[in-house]
Symmetry: C2
Subunit: 757 residues, 2 copies
Amino acid sequence: MRLTVRPTLALGLGIGLLAFAPTSTGDLRGFTAESAKAQRDWEAKFRAIPSPDSMRSYMRRLSARPHHVGSPYDKDNAEWLLARFKSFGLDARIETFDVLFPTPKERAVELVAPTRFVAKLQEPPIPGDPTSSQQAEQLPTYNAYSIDGDVTAPLVYVNYGVPADYERLERLGVSVKGAIVIARYFGSWRGIKPKVAAEHGAVGCIIYSDPRDDGYAQGEVYPQGPWRPKDGVQRGSVMDMPVYPGDPLTPGVGATKDAKRLPVSEAPTITKIPVLPISYGDAQPLLAALRGPVAPQEWRGALGITYRVGPGPARVHLKVKSDWSLKTLYDVIARVPGATAPDEWVIRGNHHDAWVNGAEDPISGLVPLLEEARAYGELVKQGWKPRRTIVYAAWDGEEPALLGSTEWAEAHADELVTKAVAYLNSDTNNRGYLDVGGSHSLEQFINDVARDIQDPETKLSVWKRAQLRAIADASDADGRKEARERANLRIDALGSGSDFTPFLQHVGVATLNLGFGGEGGGGIYHSIYDDFKWYTTFDDTSFVYGRALAQTVGTAVMRLADADIVPYQFTGFAETVSKYAKEVEKLATETRDKIDERNRQLDEGVFTATADPREPSVPPARDPAARRLNFAPLDDAVDGLTRAAERYERAFAKAQADGGAALAKPEAQALNATLRQSEGALLSASGLPRRPWYRHQIYAPGFYTGYGVKTLPGVREAIEQKNWSEADQQIAATAQALAAHTNAINRAAEQLEKLGS
Amino acid sequence: MRLTVRPTLALGLGIGLLAFAPTSTGDLRGFTAESAKAQRDWEAKFRAIPSPDSMRSYMRRLSARPHHVGSPYDKDNAEWLLARFKSFGLDARIETFDVLFPTPKERAVELVAPTRFVAKLQEPPIPGDPTSSQQAEQLPTYNAYSIDGDVTAPLVYVNYGVPADYERLERLGVSVKGAIVIARYFGSWRGIKPKVAAEHGAVGCIIYSDPRDDGYAQGEVYPQGPWRPKDGVQRGSVMDMPVYPGDPLTPGVGATKDAKRLPVSEAPTITKIPVLPISYGDAQPLLAALRGPVAPQEWRGALGITYRVGPGPARVHLKVKSDWSLKTLYDVIARVPGATAPDEWVIRGNHHDAWVNGAEDPISGLVPLLEEARAYGELVKQGWKPRRTIVYAAWDGEEPALLGSTEWAEAHADELVTKAVAYLNSDTNNRGYLDVGGSHSLEQFINDVARDIQDPETKLSVWKRAQLRAIADASDADGRKEARERANLRIDALGSGSDFTPFLQHVGVATLNLGFGGEGGGGIYHSIYDDFKWYTTFDDTSFVYGRALAQTVGTAVMRLADADIVPYQFTGFAETVSKYAKEVEKLATETRDKIDERNRQLDEGVFTATADPREPSVPPARDPAARRLNFAPLDDAVDGLTRAAERYERAFAKAQADGGAALAKPEAQALNATLRQSEGALLSASGLPRRPWYRHQIYAPGFYTGYGVKTLPGVREAIEQKNWSEADQQIAATAQALAAHTNAINRAAEQLEKLGS
């Protein structure tokens, strides 16, 4: 489900200078000297097992036919996966849920004036690509969870369709009220586009793939190259997932057979206006028929036309009608039971459903997971007994709305709260650099793992390569200094876009999301061309990055499963939160200054004086003057967290000194229980404003970005919305969550101090 | 000749707060209270005279037929202008020069592999645009001063063809040795493209107009809109004017009948490789035939293709052959003799030649000049007697190489050195904001003038509108503060691109270049579509900005001609030079840091580690470590200049106090003589390294930018070229010029102190 355009790896993952080696007294954090030695041996054995050839054959099988939610091959794949897990020796079963998943019955996009053009809405098969011709089984091109509708209205081009684009339109004197908007993909998660359009009064929304973003402007198109061909369409969900993901009818609870369900008409996450995605082949006549102001420079795509904004004279007819029946999800869950602590779980997941054949998304991330499971089966036969229970999940229904993971996490929430040590996710996998996002209490841990994995292209460790990339990409000398000298390379905070969301942001499980990327590229995302032929021609063709991902995640899972003490580390988290606090404080100042400056310019007449009388231009609206916020509670909370984290770190160093025998004491169990609660302490019971499902006070997807993370989301978004009283409330709520987390760390430190004494 | 794409007016022209009014004791700088009152009256009378209708009729006549150098209508226009000046009552004559101006006899651009395509090289007439069909008289599409050549070679796309683009190509492993390059217009003056291509071993150069820069990407194309149509071509000179402008055969001296001439084969400013310009209609098949690496993101234009770099498989045949005979220039020179100081000259010019019909370039700037001259004729009849001589010039041959102005300035250099008070230039004129560049000793003067001119669209003064634009465009709070609070808005430093160059940079006359712009736009620059129909449909259609330009420049000329003391002001210049000094010091530090950082990354292996093995990538070359420079001589010279400027300002305030009777003393003549030498003191006898014709030590066109200015050019370009010993020499040379200028100011201050005592 994640976007295929490669983000700049602002700071990748890796370890800085060799001089900054981890804990000097223990080779592996949380292990005794003795247990670390055994662990190293098992991990080395593990990493020799994953096989590119196996992954290739799994991908061929899993992507052989379209396998979206509700399709025969989706269930078939689930059963095949179940059989594989069992054949590897794992204890596996399928859990089902019944969820609302609309599939289209009627679709139309037509230009009705000034000329007539009927959009094709169809991706043609490509000779030499066998699965592209499986039209009978393919889902049509559509956006799932679009409300049914049939509208005809003038067209307006809204660029990416994010709030800033509508501010620009207002300056141009263009309103979308009563109009159908056409937005291009990218610039936000797609579900934001109809949401913001509807907020501004639009009656319909068309989303198209501009060739500038993932078509011919980027390179040769499929099948000659990896990029999006003229008729390629990006399917995808447009549900309002920033409110809650999962089944729209069962928010907060598992969509079991007898769950209480909302009526469809009351489901708040279905769009307010009809939406359809189209190709650039279908978009060109619509865009070319627009008049009105020429689109601002940065709104212009790569079609050979003058991009104009409208409204009209292009009038468009848009129609969507779906089958709104429930469909069954098949989550495949496999376990390696823990020998010592069976009620402590390390969970690892990747989804198995796709929009069509989905070789890249998600099969490229699923096949390493299968090889990890196969390897564990072999290690168990050789005598490996993981301390904790390992839970492997192949989720169904990620594409429509993180359905399989969300319903499972909601159904098992109570267990997860007490048992889960960590959730490790992957999704699509490509070539290049290890890209990690997640809970910063696991930052040092995953840096340590990354030092042990070899990059297949350069033969450097994957952390060394990521470090060199971070040096190359840093925007200034400070960034380069940090990439070179910080003990750990930073990991990203997580927003949304894959199955980690319910674990991290709803239940409060420490989470990591991992994948390789940054090299190559393509434009087959969510189209019929994302298939075995494409992936094995243009992406990780030899599956060496598939193997590297299995080695990375598998090593991480084993190490988390076997550590005497769960290897969370909090000083890095404290430093990161302190950075976020500085960011929101700066944002508040800048927002206030911006309001003051704009109001001053309105007083000076800047906007009227600089308007070209031949061009439409409307001065911006005046904002009420902003007031200052009291950040003291947040800053105090960060200070308290920092002190607690440092205390824990001192106690940890002492406990792990001299072979770390203390870590093996039976009392360590209680410490581990405290640690498992620490991420959960960052949740608030009432959740974020207007979206209580999202409870994490540090990480959330943005209400107006969709995938993109907002850190300290309650505070940050209140400031962005210029809601100063809410900002004050959210400062208090965030400080409270940090204080609860700080208490957990202090408790853990105390337990650790006793252990070491 | 200037580019038509509107530059961002980083800081326009205008006066800041009303609180910062100029000299409180005298209403007009350099005038006694009494002379100021008379001056105000004459200026008000003057500004009532220029008539939009007259300008429209002049434009219709002057642009009625193609009038390039050597054409019948060029001479016809000169004679018509002469007659106009005479009819206004001015003393006018034509001065001729004989210069090398090649015109094409044979031209070919053909794709010869992998398929065949013959470029049209022809701009079609447009129905409803009468002058576009005058094909018999139009110069073909070509680049003047391209050497003759006939080459066939693989094609390489080089973006704008500036040095940084070749560094990028090297990183991609692409060489242009033996290739024909295709570069797009913009990003530098066009003559830089073949120069840099030849330096890198290319054998030919094609320059095309990408629709992204001035075609359909910007808006509707001609005749539906103002932008460049598919077959529109930008003609233009590619002579190496950063070495010297003017006749290639007579550097430094006027190209009079019996001037000593270089053989054509030894003229250093003719290109080293053949060059032709083409339309985007002709360019598309060539670019589409390229393979090799996909062009970097920022190199991609608006054609609906994948932009690739090559080399090949596209092979191109390029042929150019010209008639290299001498042609005659007709400079039209008119005078209003000075009543009191006939040997002090205020010179005002605009060229009259065009590439084809040239309604915008240059007639839109010439017709205000004509109205200024007509108005002076009327004022003289009413009894106005300018103190100094006013010289009005309509230059020929600006388009090929600033021929008419350069030859005239070279021929009259001795007179200019002693007599010239200032040179005021204009070229094309459009709508929007007063845009001023020039000598900073005239910054306050022209700010004062701009406060007296009304903007036709907003009815604000043109300086107020420019100030509000500067506030709107400022990139940060410091920029806005400066725009709001600095006594004068900054004027730009001048590079090249119009007839001011010989006056300012070769002879050392204080100079201003003025025009309105910043609104509207178009893509007819140097094509057959730059004509009366286009201008009166899309540009300053009611000629109100023509009138505003006549009012601005005419007022400035009158004020300079009548002031008792020439109104130079040096504190603003000193502050500006101090800013330039800080810039070059920062540049030296940044260049050194960049070299160190790149060498460090080479040592670390960053470039090899971050290379995608499937993409071509070559690590950059290692630079020798940079050394520190001694800027003390420059900083000391700036301090000395600042002290002298402040001393002069104190003396000036005293002299102008209480009615300023001191200014009217006969001894003021000697002070004026000193002041006239002050700009010239900034010249060095030996000129800039490798281009002795350019003698100004503060302002020059960049050796690798062409139009774009380099301030403190000797120092700045040595640093850019990493030539540290030359940088040291140039710091000394620049400091020496500043010291000479400081001496002149101190002499003037002394004279003024005596005058006031």
